[in-house]
């Protein structure tokens, strides 16, 4: 929440304080009005699971998406992006006690994520071939989660293993999360309008929560 409080003023300040520098007789209308980029990405998300035994702190997936930006000036751009990721798996094990005997419930969660983000970018330089940028914004993530819960078995040294609960597949659920993020990257043009773009962004909730590294090609309009 503190991060959100920090990011929002930065984004608003971007709108309010930064303006084009019409020096050298430059026209005040932006050189490009909009851009569209198709991206592929790797998305890493920190696991929410509170179980003591989780196979990895982060789960990652391959991600594809589309980003569309609107230039208010040559340096300020608002961008909307949408992406969807492939499935990733998280395994966790939770200790339980049944009839005075300790055992574990093992759960394998299959997670796929869709993300909608809105951000404000500051793009450095004007009308050059290489434009670094910094950005801040907010993304909404929808995580589709399906849990496969293994049978619960009690192991007793004096008796054969006894299954006390069958394995089951939990009803799929969707969790919605809003995270502020900051990012940086660059656009490298290979002709007047076409460009290669890559960026990295970090989303926060309780500390660093999500890392998205994207690369793709796009065009200015």
């Amino acid at each position: 929440m503190r991060t959100l409080k920090l990011v929002i003023p930065v984004v608003l300040a971007g709108f309010a304080a930064l303006h084009p520098s019409p020096a050298l007789g430059q026209t005040t209308s932006p050189l490009a009005r909009a851009d569209v980029t198709g991206v592929v990405a790797i998305l890493g998300v920190e696991n929410d699971a509170v179980a003591p035994y989780v196979d990895d702190d982060w789960h990652s997936s391959f991600f594809g998406g589309l980003a569309a930006g609107w230039y208010w000036t040559d340096n300020l751009k608002t961008e909307l992006d949408f992406g969807a990721g492939t499935e990733s798996q998280v395994y966790r094990s939770t200790p339980i006690t049944i009839g005075g005997r300790s055992t574990y419930v093992s759960t394998q969660s299959t997670i796929s994520q869709r993300t909608l983000g809105v951000s404000q970018q500051y793009q450095f330089f004007r009308n050059v071939w290489f434009h670094p940028h910094v950005s801040g914004g907010v993304n909404v993530s929808w995580e589709d989660i399906t849990d496969e819960i293994s049978p619960v078995v009690i192991y007793d040294p004096a008796a054969p293993p006894r299954q006390v609960e069958p394995g089951r597949r939990a009803r799929p659920r969707t969790e919605t999360t809003v995270r502020p993020f900051i990012g940086t990257g660059f656009k490298a043009y290979f002709n007047q309008r076409g460009f290669f773009r890559t960026d990295i962004r970090f989303a926060f909730r309780s500390g660093l929560d999500e890392v998205l590294v994207r690369a793709g090609f796009g065009i200015d309009f």
Partner: protein, 136 residues
């Protein structure tokens, strides 16, 4: 007057580096010298072959690169070196601190290297992303 001009010319050429001339700031220099330097700058610019790549340094600290298209006593016309072509700019010499002749070859090579590095890094990152996702 000739001696003054000679001094000004010598100072300008020795302090500003090869193929570069600068006016000293009108704020800090006596007005007579500033006027003389503007004249030197005008003479210098008019001797640069039209079509040469130049770097123009403005009194406000900004800088631009472009192609010299015309030079008169009062101003220079420079076609900015940009990704998307822009109209040539007529710049009053009073706003110019200095004009440096740029190497055609160096700029082009630097640009090509820059683009190559950017695309190479991008392609490498993209490939790594693909590998990481495929192995995950």
């Amino acid at each position: 007057m000739k001696r003054t001009m000679a001094w000004v010319l010598c100072i300008a050429l020795t302090t500003a580096g090869c193929a570069t001339t600068r006016t000293t700031g009108a704020v800090v220099a006596p007005s007579g010298i500033a006027v003389a330097n503007s004249r030197v700058l005008a003479e210098y610019v008019q001797r640069i072959p039209l079509g040469s790549p130049v770097r123009v340094q403005f009194a406000n600290g900004k800088e631009m690169r472009g192609t010299l298209m015309k030079a008169t006593d009062q101003n220079v016309v420079v076609q900015p070196k940009t990704r998307v072509p822009e109209p040539a700019l007529e710049i009053p010499l009073g706003e110019v601190m200095g004009i440096a002749l740029e190497s055609k070859k160096g700029g082009s090579v630097a640009k090509t290297i820059g683009i190559g590095v950017a695309v190479g890094v991008g392609a490498a990152v993209g490939f790594l992303l693909f590998l990481v996702a495929a192995l995950d």
